[in-house]
Structure formats: structure tokens, C-alpha cells
Symmetry: C2
Subunit: 208 residues, 2 copies
């Protein structure tokens, strides 16, 4: 058995990486990525400052690892919910609803995903972002299958539709995180977005 320092709260160090990620999530959400100090993350996690660098190369690396960890959970949750309904329109509504619910239940994660991530130039420009790729492909393949089955209009490429839908729900979550939490219900807004996306904003033209 490994000997642990007094700053380790738990006898088994295997979850130390997870504890650091949990602490980073809280500290990034509180101070923002650029103002967050690694020393505060270490204190919050109950580890020595240097310990963080055994697991993560830099603060950027910590942010990217946090994103991957949370996005993996988001993707797993969304995929399970989407698989549980049959038609493409139902899958799209379920996807939007589940994403909004995740934001509502985990506002710190929502803040990291919508605000803090974009403050890292490294993340935005250099990181290949495989988890976000998975997320987009999940949404694009719902659209593609729906088009193949004739449930959805095929006038828009699936990846363009997926990007647009992600952008729409992401912006609503951002507005909600940045100050609208009491002003509007993010889950209700996701339902309205689903209806707008599927049935369209334009009212049907009546025959003369």
C-alpha cells in the first residue's frame, strides 16, 4: 500500500484525480478559468499543490481533462435517453430536453462548458476535441437517420443541422447561466426550441 501525505483525505489515492477535477470544476466556476489559481484547486481538493502536476501538465490541461470527463458523462446520459425513443423527431426533443436538464441539475458544469472553456485559447484553437466530436456526431446521426427514413426534411446537411441545434441550445444555456436562472426555465426553453426546430416558426399558408 502506498503511503499518502497528511493532505490526502482518502486512504485510496485512486480517486485523487477525480477529486482534483471536482475541485477544478468548483474553482473555475467561482473565479473563471483565467483567475483560478492552481493552489486554490489543490486546497479545495485536499492535496498538496505539487500533486496536481503529477496528474495534469498545466492549468490548460486540467481544463481540457475536466471538459473530457464531463462531456463523457453528458454523452453517455444523452445517448441512453435518445436510444430509449424511436422516431427522429422524438430523439431531437429528448436530446434538447436532456441537455437542458443536465445544465439545470449541474449549473457548475454548464458554466464550465459554456463560458470557461472558451477562455482557453489552447482549447479553442489547438485541442482536437474528440468528445465534442462525439456529441456532434450523435446529433448529426439522429438527423441523418431521420432523413433516410423520411421523417425529416433532407434540405439541410446533417452536420449543419447538428451545429445549428447545438449552437441554439448552447446559447440558451449560456443566457440562463449568465443571469437568467430566475428569469426563465431552461427546460421549457429547450421544449420551445424543439417545437420550433421540428415544426418551424412560419405558420402554414392557407389556400386562398
Amino acid at each position: 500500500m502506498t503511503v499518502h501525505s497528511a493532505s490526502d483525505r482518502k486512504p485510496n489515492g485512486g480517486d485523487k484525480r477525480e477529486r482534483i477535477l471536482d475541485a477544478a470544476e468548483r474553482v473555475f466556476a467561482k473565479h473563471g478559468f483565467y483567475n483560478a489559481r492552481v493552489a486554490e484547486i489543490a486546497r479545495d481538493a485536499g492535496v498538496a499543490d505539487g500533486t496536481i502536476y503529477l496528474y495534469f501538465k498545466s492549468k490548460d490541461d486540467l481544463l481540457i481533462s475536466l471538459f473530457e470527463s464531463r462531456m463523457e458523462r453528458v454523452n453517455t446520459t444523452l445517448q441512453a435517453k435518445v436510444d430509449a425513443v424511436a422516431s427522429a423527431p422524438d430523439k431531437i426533443c429528448t436530446f434538447l430536453n436532456a441537455y437542458a436538464l443536465l445544465a439545470k441539475e449541474h449549473p457548475h458544469v454548464a458554466e464550465v462548458l459554456t463560458i470557461e472553456l472558451r477562455q482557453s485559447s489552447k482549447f479553442m484553437k489547438e485541442y482536437a476535441n474528440p468528445r465534442f466530436g462525439e456529441f456532434l456526431r450523435m446529433l448529426a446521426s439522429i438527423v441523418e437517420q431521420g432523413q433516410q427514413r423520411g421523417e425529416l426534411d433532407d434540405g439541410i446537411p446533417p452536420l449543419v443541422a447538428a451545429r445549428a441545434l447545438f449552437g441554439a441550445i448552447d446559447e440558451l444555456v449560456l443566457a440562463w447561466v449568465l443571469g437568467g436562472k430566475e428569469k426563465f426555465d431552461i427546460v421549457r426553453a429547450a421544449e420551445q426550441l424543439g417545437a420550433m426546430t421540428l415544426r418551424g416558426l412560419e405558420t402554414p399558408r392557407r389556400d386562398p
Copy 2:
């Protein structure tokens, strides 16, 4: 007449502020907001380093002023184009198309608006952002008027629709800026988004 230093390219210093903003746009797009150095912006603008601080308090202030200047132009251009068509559905398509065209014609501005701005924590959390408020209200009032005239479905609050639409087009522009410029045509994608928003993705259910 005021005496100008040798570093001033133009005899009239009134446009010095504009020259600094133009230089900041190029330098932010090239190096990113966080890595951009005020000295390089000064060099690019042809002014002494200290001159920048006569016009702008800080690099954050320079970014916010750049945003306000460019957003003012964007809003003026969009409003003129939207006013030139009559129905709400046409106004929505015109708005999306004009926004995509602006991005295509001014990729440096698009990069600052979609990426660099979000790297300023001050901008995201502290700045009240009146120009973006104008932009959103323009879009929301198109939706609201369309709903009042019966052209658009009133199942979604105008501001939720406006946020969702902005999020969708902004994400498409971001994808285009970050590496898709040869992969897809942003103006064509904006047209597809307009059709999806107005007529809906779901194919009409046929009567049995």
C-alpha cells in the same frame, strides 16, 4: 493645429482611435486576445505604445471598444437589409444571410466576435453589452411582429427564439472560422438554417 509625433501616419489625429481599433482587430485575430501584445497593436497602428492608453484604459477596454465599434456597424447593416423586406419570414432569412455575408467578407471581425471576445472574462461576466442587446432586440422584434401579424407561430417567446437563432448562426460562423472555410459555404449554411427555422425539420405527416 496640434503637433503630432513622427509615429503618426496621418496629419489629422482624429482617426487615431480608429487606426488603433483596426490594428487591434488584426492582432487579436492573429495571436488571440490573451497572447496579443499592446506593443504590437501600437506598432501595427503606427502609434507609440503610450498613445494606446490615451484612448483605452486596458487591453480588455480595447477589446470591448472594438466589439462595440464592429457591432454598431453590424447592427446598422442588418437593420437596413431587414427594413428592405416586408414579411417576418423574409426578414429572418435576410438577417441570417446578411450576418453570414458579413462574416465571409470580414473574417477577422468574425473571429473577434466568435472567439476572442469570449476569452475575456470581464467581457463575458461584467460588461453589460448594450450593442449585443440591440442585436438581440432587433431579431426578437422581427419575431414578435411576425407573431402579431399571424405570420409566425406564437408558441415561443420572441427573446427565446432570438437567442436560439443567434446561437445557431453564431455556432455555424464559429465552425466556419475555426477550420471549415474550405469545407462549407457559410452563406449557403445560413440559407439552410433559415429554411429549417421557418418550415421545420419534420416532414409533414400524410393523412392515412
